[in-house]
């Protein structure tokens, strides 16, 4: 694959783009789940995000891409190696690792290095996809078709930020902090509710309904396919602008304050919707803060809550499986009541 389709050139699908940007600004929001029709640019957006994000600094030669600055979160190897001397660093692109369907568990979590074991009789750990995804994104297309035990494993690692491998006499733990991005089509089957809840944000994508938008989608896609390099070059400026916005938002994030009024609002909204547990409120707050930061505001206000609430809450409602309205509409209704039209 040469250069992916530029993120800033994706037509419409604002909620999906917003959710991905929020996750890029504050990975602590927890993963993003994108559910929707076929041919709506789900995979395109995720793959485009990789190219958009600013490059990161890693310790050279580290399997897990440890950050040379924050030494508190290093992997065991780095801690041992660089106990005294300074590590060498390198700039690399943010990893966006594709988890292909049909990947086996040993490739995902890592396993005994067969080559070294067979050739030299050494017991060595060969890092898997989770190691590669550290500090980046792990993307699962058709997450609802992935084997249940793999999904369980991924969610667990994503939540704890650490991959613990206990197999073949190996006992390894290494950092695996990544944003889980799943996409799927609800017609192919549902995700278990327990799993839904573990994703921070959930967005629904639909096929654009007006002709002009559709024409624009096809036109851009077509001109990209005919000459990817030229198309990417043409979008370089707007990509650069968006990249700067992300960098600025990340820097601003710790300073963004959440007033008590906003906390109360979030809590009331969650109560009105009857979401289970506190994860909904926490995510809502975090997402709203990232949103404020993206927009250059220093305090979280109602308008931020309003924008992120559907994505943060829609998958946490008690499901009424045959409610025609769908949970997105229920959240919108609750927001309307609470915040006024």
């Amino acid at each position: 694959m040469s250069s992916p389709f530029p993120f800033s050139s994706i037509v419409g699908q604002d909620e999906m783009k917003m959710a991905l940007l929020i996750a890029a600004v504050d990975p602590a929001v927890g993963g993003v789940l994108v559910f929707g029709d076929r041919g709506t640019g789900k995979s395109t957006a995720v793959r485009a995000l990789a190219a958009l994000l600013p490059r990161i600094r890693v310790i050279k030669g580290c399997h897990y891409g440890c950050d040379p600055v924050t030494d508190g979160k290093w992997c065991d190897d780095c801690r041992e190696k660089y106990a005294k001397d300074e590590p060498k660093s390198a700039l690399v692109a943010v990893p966006v690792v594709d988890l292909p369907l049909g990947a086996t568990e040993d490739r995902v979590v890592g396993a005994l290095d067969l080559e070294r074991a067979l050739a030299r009789g050494e017991k060595a750990f060969e890092p898997g996809l989770l190691a590669r995804a550290n500090r980046g994104f792990l993307y699962i297309d058709e997450v609802n078709l992935l084997e249940d035990h793999l999904v369980d494993l991924l969610i667990d690692v994503a939540a704890s930020g650490e991959n613990v491998v206990e197999r073949e006499g190996l006992s390894v733990r290494h950092p695996a902090r990544f944003v889980l991005v799943g996409s799927g089509n609800p017609e192919e089957g549902e995700l278990r509710p327990q799993l839904l809840d573990r994703f921070g944000l959930s967005v629904e994508v639909k096929t654009p309904e007006d002709l002009a938008t559709r024409i624009e989608v096809v036109r851009r896609r077509d001109s990209y396919e005919r000459d990817p390099a030229a198309f990417v070059e043409k979008c370089r400026k707007q990509e650069e602008r968006l990249r700067r916005q992300i960098v600025a938002a990340r820097a601003r994030l710790p300073a963004v304050s959440v007033p008590d009024a906003a906390l109360e609002r979030a809590a009331t909204l969650c109560m009105a919707l009857g979401t289970d547990g506190l994860r909904g409120e926490l995510t809502l707050m975090r997402a709203a803060r990232a949103m404020a930061s993206l927009e250059g505001d220093s305090t979280v206000e109602d308008k931020h809550l309003r924008r992120v609430a559907p994505a943060a809450l829609r998958h946490r409602l008690r499901r009424d499986p045959l409610d025609e309205a769908g949970s997105g509409v229920r959240v919108a209704r609750a927001i309307e009541q609470l915040f006024g039209a």
Binding site: G39, G102, R107, A111, G169, P186, E187, G189, E190, P208
Partner: protein, 598 residues
């Protein structure tokens, strides 16, 4: 190649044209879904296609039960053992780079395999992470999906179908229809060279998008594929830019089979999209067919597409029944290959290679690996061991463990006849909904058969998808006679299919038991009841778990008798609501799992 939509173009010519355009740009057009039973017509189509493909293009057949290792690539066992280090092996898809992958019996393809294919189609490369090896290899492929389905329920998984430009149906053609000129591989080769430089105007894009929308096609991939096909058509005709005829052809081949509704007729001519007003007239001069009065390209395109919509579908679309047809065979997530040891692999354990056990080669190698030096050091006098690079011993054997999910499917057989419809239909719907909510948590499946008039209809094939269940329930009409025998037969057939898939069916009959339509559709209470009793006995013989919910206001002796013949649990629920029915079903299902039988 400048034909446009007209009555003279036969289905075969269109099919042949699709083959030519696919041969011209296999990866760009995504592929062909070919619906036809195995036979001379299909063979002729296939040989024409092969004749058009340059001989150097790879052509790979993928069997239905292909293992991931062969499809995507994996560990090359022989080479690994020979060299003593892991050697990756390319899969079928990577081998087919630049050519065509043929899927046999694609209608039975599992959605998991389809998803793998889709990922490769989207990325243009195989990204393999398996068995301790990682490999990326280019795979720009076109997919030829041979669909031998006969009923509407059998279909290629939607995600894959969406990415294949051509949906060709040869089912209605005889061998004498299959006549026509062929195009040589050289011509295709020349056209391929031209393809990259073909220009498509804004108007083409706009008109294809407009036509797709008017035909109710949601996916934005459809117009994109149509655009590529239009370009290929221009290349084939020896033109350097896409003309209206090419666009019309693309609409006919790509958009028409995807139509879910008829374009609104009145608006067609009344208000052309503003962008079309400025369109020049001269491009249409080379067309034999008279262009519509206003000359808008979108109309030409739309007309072409409309003319190509099959007649049967047209009637169906006119009734608004198109939407349901589209997604019939999806939702089989998690279903695994059949074998004597089936189920989901859940890791490996140390074990003996007894009958049926499957050796997990990779884990076995891993288990043997740490001991290699030691074994080689101690086994010098043993010839057998010293010759092998790796010595594997019995204690290293690792067996794959499988876990089979005890899935259950609840089949609702709902009486929608005139006698039952008024007071019961709503409650039956409510009960199905409640159970569905339950099943959604347990990941069980639900199916729905409704019977009224002269036959029973499968409204909802076994599904876990809420979206589909919603659609199936919304369209449940009521009124007419009570063809009970047909309904029981349908339930038995479905339950049998479910059981053959290794799942446990539970049948729930919601009826008042007053049959008045016999099995052959004739009216008359006496024969109808006799037929129903016969069908009930058949059901009992198959030993399914059955719950009979008598929905008549007063308990009926006929209903009780019927239930007894079915060996069903009988439940009189004259005034029960949806919640009560749902509770009874749950109780009956747990009875069954506790005691077995009904």
């Amino acid at each position: 190649m400048a034909e446009t939509a007209s009555a003279e173009i036969t289905a075969w010519q269109d099919a042949a044209l699709a083959a030519a355009l696919f041969a011209l740009d296999p990866a760009g057009t995504g592929g062909v879904a070919l619906r036809a039973s195995a036979g001379p017509v299909r063979d002729r189509w296939l040989s024409q296609l092969r004749g058009m493909l340059p001989g150097t293009d790879p052509w790979r057949r993928v069997p239905l039960n292909v293992a991931d290792g062969r499809l995507l690539g994996g560990l090359d066992l022989a080479a690994t053992l020979r060299s003593g280090r892991p050697v990756a092996e390319r899969g079928l898809l990577a081998e087919a780079d630049g050519g065509v992958v043929v899927l046999a019996m694609a209608e039975r393809l599992s959605s998991a395999t389809a998803a793998r294919l889709v990922a490769v189609l989207d990325a243009g490369e195989v990204c393999m992470e398996r068995d301790g090896v990682a490999l990326r290899s280019p795979a720009r492929i076109g997919v030829l999906a041979l669909d031998e389905g006969v009923s509407a329920e059998e279909n290629i998984p939607g995600a894959l179908l969406d990415r294949l430009a051509f949906h060709v149906d040869l089912a209605s053609l005889g061998i004498f229809d299959a006549q026509g000129d062929t195009i040589s591989a050289e011509e295709i080769g020349v056209a391929r060279n031209r393809l990259r430089r073909i220009v498509a105007g804004e108007r083409t894009i706009e008109s294809l998008c407009g036509a797709a929308m008017a035909l109710g096609i949601d996916s934005t991939r459809a117009p994109l594929l149509a655009l590529r096909v239009a370009r290929a058509a221009a290349a084939l005709a020896g033109r350097m830019e896409v003309t209206d005829a090419d666009a019309a052809l693309a609409a006919r081949l790509v958009l028409a089979p995807r139509a879910t509704r008829l374009p609104p007729v009145s608006e067609d001519h009344a208000e052309p999209p503003p962008a079309e007003v400025a369109a020049s007239e001269d491009a249409q001069n080379d067309q034999p067919t008279p262009a519509p009065e206003n000359g808008a390209l979108e109309d030409v395109v739309l007309e072409a597409a409309k003319a190509a919509i099959p007649a049967g579908l047209l009637a169906q679309l006119a009734q608004g029944g198109g939407a349901r047809r589209r997604s019939v065979s999806v939702g089989r997530a998690g279903q695994l290959l059949r074998s004597n040891k089936r189920g989901r692999p859940i890791g490996a354990m140390r074990g003996e290679l007894k009958a049926g056990a499957r050796l997990n080669v990779l884990e076995t190698l891993r288990a043997a690996a740490p001991w290699q030096r030691l074994r080689q050091a101690t086994a010098h006098d043993d010839l057998v061991h010293s010759r092998a690079k790796i010595s594997v011993r019995r204690e290293d054997f690792r067996i794959t463990r499988f876990k089979q999910r005890a899935e259950s499917t609840t089949i609702f057989v709902v009486d929608a006849s005139g006698s039952a419809a008024l007071n019961r239909l709503a409650e039956a719907k409510g009960a199905v909904e409640l159970l569905l909510a339950d099943c959604y948590v347990r990941r069980d499946r639900v199916a729905l058969i409704a019977f009224r008039g002269s036959n029973a209809e499968l409204l909802l094939p076994p599904t876990r998808s809420l979206a589909r269940a919603k659609r199936g329930l919304a369209g449940l009409p009521g009124g007419g006679g009570t063809p009970l025998a047909a309904a029981i037969d349908a339930a038995v057939a479905l339950a049998d299919a479910v059981r053959r898939r290794g799942e446990t069916p539970t049948i729930v009959m919601l009826t008042d038991g007053r049959a008045n339509i016999a099995r052959d559709g004739a009216q008359g209470r006496a024969r109808a009841e006799e037929d129903a009793l016969g069908a009930a006995r058949k059901m009992a013989a198959a030993e399914f778990a059955v719950l009979f919910v008598d929905t008549s206001p007063r308990t009926q002796p006929q209903a009780q008798k019927l239930a007894a013949e079915m060996h069903a649990r009988y439940l009189a629920l004259p005034y029960a609501g949806a919640a009560a029915i749902s509770q009874a079903v749950r109780a009956s299902a747990s009875d069954r799992s506790a005691g077995g039988g009904a």
